[in-house]
Symmetry: C2
Subunit: 337 residues, 2 copies
């Protein structure tokens, strides 16, 4: 550990070096305070010369307002939330804020811990892709005195604000799309869905959409494992093996699984979209890069992140946006269904 117990330079040292009072140094180093240009320059020189890094702990404690926005997501194992982060970052960065990330791993308990932890740093706002809020978590959030955005899903009653799309509507839209393409018998392959509320919503919407056409789900399988390409492969295999009815089209809980399904078909000589239709959700690049581009639903993840951050920032400037902000999804017709 370089330079063991040498304390960091403080504002007092900068002030002394510049020959001004502490508060003047403080003002000179921040934007938007009336300081004589010459003084400011002197202070900046002094700060630079001793490599001063302001202590935000002290600053925030004294000033009350932090520039840190907490972000809690359930996972980083697929690019979905990484994309959200990109959007969050793009918005925050421009405004001089920073994001602090927590990953809940789809665990409510861990989520609660993360929320508590985040709160102890007194952030200026919170962006949350909720897993399943514990009562304690919900209570903390309700008591918070900073803006909170729940992202991804708008099928919820938000604590403060929600940004995303209706996954139920998305599932329904895919059902309609498939029915309109002429498929008549439908399947579903999902992962450890109990932990993924949004996947459940899509499944519900899918069933509703089929019902709109007087169809119903002929075969459904949800494997109690985390989502992955391999799981999709395995899932489709089991689905097809388990059913005597001929399934014509399969909706997967997400693109990762659907890509696995596509690989399964390829390995087993099943032709898409004629012998079997495949559809996913997310619009990931990998699905579009396949020799047989995946039919799926593009969710605008970076935009969700950006809008969520924008809403926080708006609140911070005194304007409170609507409780719901919808970011559109759209069907991406590939060649698999």
């Amino acid at each position: 550990m370089p330079v063991p117990n040498q304390k960091q330079p403080t504002l007092a040292q900068v002030a002394k070096l510049a020959g001004v009072s502490e508060i003047t140094a403080s003002r000179a180093l921040r934007a938007g305070s009336p300081v004589a240009p010459k003084t400011r320059e002197r202070v900046e020189q002094a700060a630079l010369s001793i490599n001063y890094v302001p202590n935000r702990l002290a600053g925030t404690l004294a000033g009350g307002s932090s520039r840190q926005i907490g972000v809690i997501v359930p996972s980083l194992s697929n690019i979905v939330f990484a994309d959200v982060l990109v959007g969050v970052d793009r918005c925050l960065d421009a405004a001089g804020y920073v994001a602090t990330l927590g990953v809940s791993q789809y665990s409510s308990k861990k989520e609660e811990k993360l929320i508590r932890d985040l709160f102890s740093w007194r952030p200026a706002g919170l962006i949350l892709a909720p897993t399943d809020l514990t009562p304690s978590s919900a209570a903390m959030l309700r008591r918070a005195r900073f803006p909170i955005v729940e992202i991804m899903d708008t099928d919820i009653e938000p604590i403060d604000m929600a940004v995303g799309c209706s996954h139920r509507t998305a599932g329904r839209a895919m059902a309609h799309y498939l029915a309109n393409r002429g498929y008549r018998s439908f399947g579903y392959v999902g992962h450890d869905i109990s932990k993924d509320k949004r996947a459940i919503s899509r499944l519900i919407g899918y069933k509703e959409g089929l019902a709109d056409f007087d169809f119903s789900l002929a075969a459904e399988i949800t494997l109690p494992e985390p989502s992955s390409v391999l799981l999709g492969k395995k899932g489709l295999g089991q689905l097809l093996a388990s059913t005597t009815d001929k399934v014509e089209a399969v909706f997967f809980a997400n693109d990762d699984l659907a890509v696995g399904g596509s690989f399964y078909c390829q390995e087993n000589g099943i032709i898409n979209p004629t012998e079997l239709g495949l559809a996913g959700f997310n619009g990931l690049q990998i699905g579009q890069a396949l020799p047989n581009p995946l039919t799926t639903i593009a969710s605008n993840r970076a935009k969700i992140g950006f809008e969520a951050a924008s809403n926080i920032l708006r609140c911070l400037t005194g304007y409170h946006p609507d409780a719901w902000t919808t970011v559109d999804f759209r069907i991406l017709p590939g060649t698999t269904a």
Copy 2:
């Protein structure tokens, strides 16, 4: 924003409620301080009843030691760094520390900003997958009075500690593997490599490895775009079009590109591994899930994260590990080369 300007409960309130002094309340709420069990219980009750969340800003400012470990990575667009984070998290979580994440987007400037920002929160340690440290960044790091681990690559002279593998050796190993498989003419497809030092190291090692067998690179292409599956597809197409020599095996800068290459072959009826050999780097699941599993190098990313965090924690308890910690890679023979 729920409950607008209501302040959070403070330790003083807890203390009053429990009928003890502030400092006793403080001790009761922390581990390892001598407090009568009954007193402790009373304080805990009080804290719970008013939903007390400690203010770490104040705590850290007063106490000097934070439990926050900064983590700076260049990107989250591929799972590589997400995997590292999982490892970091697993180690830190058990010890009661939390990770604060920053993403530099492969920009040295942004990296410097992130480092400065992180420093201003006085973290207990820093884990960094460096992009290309600016002089200023390096200076800050050298002046830090907390442990710093540079991860991924061990082909460097670390500021404090390094955890990872030698990418140069990995590149060389792949060259040897391919040469031993009987290939005699070699290509390389890379992305905007100028920003990815580790990919450059692998390329250098690859060339050295070929030289060990008296071979040299017959065709090499690096496209000035960020890595992606689609880029790999495009890259391989261009590589094959650009060269009159027949290339027998292609090493890609990473698995994403290699998967794209695999798709290209599939679309163009090129048989792997006989007509063309393909190899990647990382050992991502997507490559292994392909109908034709990718030949690649498994880098143990979660372990790198875990070891990095362990090293930080060890420093914090007074024991300083070696400057270099090697996490092994290994060739994963698929069916593409």
